[in-house]
């Protein structure tokens, strides 16, 4: 366990010292700032626009950081051979995957938290009245990005090419938001084969809409009790993706 935390800590340090990563955070912070300008254009809906745009920007940049980090982290390390010195230490290979994952997720969450601090500061400055659901939307966004980090890590081990792994991760991200629509279309086609295929696909795809709490901010009476099963789902899905990564990594030769 200590070794997992050691790898996580150094991954976090490495990510925070990586200039490209800092540029992404800076860009995200600027985008949140820019939402003020859009808000000004929206007249009486200013706060709503700042709220939505800020969340969207944070999630988008969180996703970018997670994908960029997860896809390049292991592949780059295999290419640069820094991985040799870790894998020759008396630790199971799973330690490496878990430590890298944990460190990267913490780095991405740090970046997202930074953007959200800026976002909420802007909202409060504009006279926004805080709603508990708004704060519940934040960890949900973090959990979505956690799922995507685990999936991108799995893709990087499956495809061993950064562009292919990125494309497949984005594919998971997009389809993960359209599960219900895919199911509806398959039902509408009336084809049993299509329905069976879609059923199988939906087992593989993450259900990211489950974690889209920010979509419900304007709906009165949204049950906060839905947050717990959504969080449990995120943890189970991430665990499954990580288990597959660990199994793949255990058989990998360097």
């Amino acid at each position: 366990m200590t070794s997992i935390f050691s790898i996580a800590r150094y991954t976090l340090t490495q990510q925070l010292r990586n200039r490209l990563y800092l540029v992404i955070i800076l860009f995200g912070v600027l985008m949140v700032g820019a939402s003020v300008l859009f808000g000004a254009v929206a007249a009486d809906q200013e706060i709503r626009v700042i709220l939505d745009l800020g969340f969207a920007t944070t999630e988008f940049f969180g996703l970018a950081m997670a994908l960029f980090g997860a896809v390049t982290l292991v592949l780059e390390e295999m290419e640069s051979k820094t991985i040799y010195l870790i894998l020759t230490r008396p630790q199971p290979r799973a330690t490496y995957i878990l430590g890298r994952f944990l460190g990267l997720v913490l780095a991405v969450w740090t970046g997202m938290a930074l953007m959200e601090v800026m976002h909420f500061a802007l909202l409060l400055f504009k006279g926004w009245k805080a709603d508990p659901l708004t704060f519940a939307a934040l960890p949900a966004m973090g959990l979505k990005v956690m799922i995507m980090t685990a999936l991108a890590l799995l893709c990087s081990l499956l495809f061993t090419s950064a562009p292919t792994a990125t494309v497949f991760s984005l594919f998971f991200w997009v389809l993960g938001h359209f599960g219900e629509e895919i199911r509806f279309l398959a039902k509408k086609s009336g084809q049993p084969v299509a329905m069976a295929l879609v059923k199988g696909l939906l087992w593989i795809l993450p259900n990211l809409t489950m974690l889209n709490l920010r979509d419900h901010l304007e709906i009165p009476g949204f049950p906060l009790t839905q947050i717990l099963p959504a969080a449990l789902y995120a943890l189970l899905y991430t665990g499954a993706a990580l288990s597959l990564s660990i199994a793949l990594f255990a058989r990998k030769e360097f």
């Binding site: 200590t2 070794s3 050691s6 790898i7 150094y10 340090t13 490495q14 010292r17 990586n18 640069s80 051979k81 820094t82 040799y84 010195l85 870790i86 894998l87 020759t88 230490r89 008396p90 630790q91 199971p92 330690t95 030769e253 360097f254």
Partner: protein
């Protein structure tokens, strides 16, 4: 493990690389039917031309590659196991490190992965930095280091956790004469402290100065093991033996 257990015991070791592309599988021989026992406390050198299987052998010893057939025991434990990895310190041909970390941070990191903690870890890091004469540069980022400095940090991380066996892949490649001399002194010093050292090299003169025995690899086969007494009395004799052994015109020597 008994007193007679060799530090490294390699039995009928074969590694065949299989690469699939568009449904066609291409096989390449890495090493074939290698049998070797490295005695406790000796310095064993592995000589061979490029592509003769030196790095493959080392990666198999470290558990970075898996044998196609055969067996490797490290002080009686199977290669790649935690016990085997705990007994080994490794230095790759070109040491690859995290450029965003300092020399001290890198050593601390590898120390933690080797199970060292607290005061013991700090003391070992200080002692290792002392041995490789890098204490004054320990707080600088690795990206500012010269090749010689990287090699020294590489050496330091290899013996940081006090392993019984040190495996070095081309440790003197690219070093200037002063660096070469320092490296030789450090390796000799480690051997005098009881470490078993197994290393590959292209530099016959260095091998001649350091080794008790030398194995010569030709196209993945260990064709000859030469004892120190065979070259000690006659300078340049090892080079002669090597050329005779690897030259196609002298295949009968094998």
């Amino acid at each position: 493990m008994t007193a007679d257990t060799p530090a490294l015991a390699v039995t009928d070791l074969t590694k065949i690389y299989r690469r699939s592309h568009l449904g066609r599988t291409k096989t390449t021989r890495g090493v074939e039917k290698i049998n070797l026992a490295v005695r406790d406390g000796e310095v064993f050198g592995l000589l061979g031309l490029n592509g003769s299987g030196k790095t493959t052998t080392i990666k198999l010893l470290l558990g970075l590659l898996f044998p196609t057939s055969g067996r490797i025991d490290v002080l009686g434990a199977p290669a790649g196991s935690r016990a085997a990895k705990a007994a080994i310190g490794y230095l790759p041909e070109i040491p690859y490190f995290y450029k965003y970390l300092s020399g001290r941070e890198v050593l601390t990191f590898y120390g933690q992965l080797s199970g060292l903690t607290g005061e013991a870890l700090r003391q070992r890091v200080d002692a290792a930095l002392d041995v490789v004469r890098m204490k004054d540069h320990a707080r600088r980022a690795m990206r500012e280091y010269s090749k010689g400095m990287l090699q020294r940090i590489g050496l330091a991380q290899s013996f940081l956790h006090d392993p019984k066996i040190l495996i070095y892949d081309e440790p003197v490649t690219g070093l200037d004469p002063l660096g070469l001399r320092e490296m030789r002194e450090i390796i000799q010093g480690l051997n005098q402290k009881g470490k078993t050292i197994f290393f590959s090299s292209h530099s016959i003169s260095e091998v001649e100065k350091l080794c008790h025995r030398v194995g010569i690899l030709v196209q993945g086969r260990l064709v000859r093991v030469v004892e120190q007494k065979e070259w000690a009395a006659e300078p340049g004799r090892l080079e002669e033996v090597f050329v005779q052994t690897v030259s196609p015109d002298h295949a009968h020597v094998r």
